[in-house]
Amino acid sequence: MAELRVNPTRMELKKIQARYATARKGHKLLKDKRDELMKRFLDVVREDKLLRQKVEASLSGVYKSFGIASAVSSPNMLTEALMLPKKEGKLYVTYKNVMSVTVPVYSLEILGEGGSDSYNYGMAFTSGELDSSLRELNGILEDLVRMAELEKTAQMLAEEIEKTRRRVNALEHIMMPQYVSTMKTIKMKLDENERGNTTRLMKVKDMMVKAQLAGKNNEAESDEEYSEVTQ
């Protein structure tokens, strides 16, 4: 593991220890965030999957009857029949915060709703298949909007999860081991210095003791000489 290039001093050790503590705290928080995001994401995706299956099934029915309708009436007539819709879908978007991801929430308001009489064309020139296809389409309108909301949410959560996962992995596998090994290196270096220092001190003391002993001996000898002379 590559280590940080720092001076092996107590000061640096302190700094790295603090950073390591932060990294560990951040790692724990991000991991919790990732788990929660994942939970929400899977809920959304499961619902979305069911809804999509339902919508796709209904849509194929819609297309089938619509195909028949367009086969029995001329394209111009069909366009004319559908050209001026009786209703207008207005979509209001609010935002929701899911684990710090801003996701849209759609609310649909349909203007000019006429209940069962919502067809915007006369009955004279159009076929019954058109009616049934539009009725079915009307039925899944809410589901379509809900599906769009879920799918968008899923996409955005997926991105956030990916980002968070990268961060967690970077902290876990790169930053934290780096700090640990750097701290170890600094500690070893400091210990080594400490030992070197102790050895040096012992050596110096040894030398001093020896010097002192030698001095004492000399003194003692010179004392003896002195006493001999005076006697």
Binding site: F41, F66, L78, Q155
Partner: protein, 105 residues
């Protein structure tokens, strides 16, 4: 207040006119691509539905809008029937998030 748009070939999208969608016919993929950009840029559309057969060819362009909350570009099956691309998109989102496809069949 936003509108809901739909892009696709005539047979697929005409019906949506009656339920209040803003319908944009695209006879080919290139037109559909231009329409996506135009609708997204206009800022009037919160949801843009696009039929699957175009979405498949334009996936790169669609991915560009994946990470902003507006517009949501959602695939729906076209008149040709479901190609499974929409489901595939869900799968790829799961794979992106989890790292493996855990939805099953």
């Amino acid at each position: 207040m936003y509108k809901i748009g739909i892009i696709g070939e005539r047979d697929s999208v005409l019906g949506f006119m009656a339920i209040g969608f803003s319908v944009h016919e695209a006879p080919d993929v290139d037109t559909a691509g231009e329409l996506i950009d135009a609708l997204a840029k206009s800022g009037e559309y919160a949801i843009i539905f696009i039929v699957e057969n175009y979405a498949e060819a334009l996936s790169e362009k669609i991915n560009k809008y994946k990470d902003s909350p507006i517009p949501a570009i959602i695939t729906v099956p076209g008149a040709g029937g479901a190609t499974g691309y929409g489901m595939e998109a869900i799968r790829s989102a799961v794979e992106r998030a989890v790292g493996a496809d855990i939805l099953g069949d």
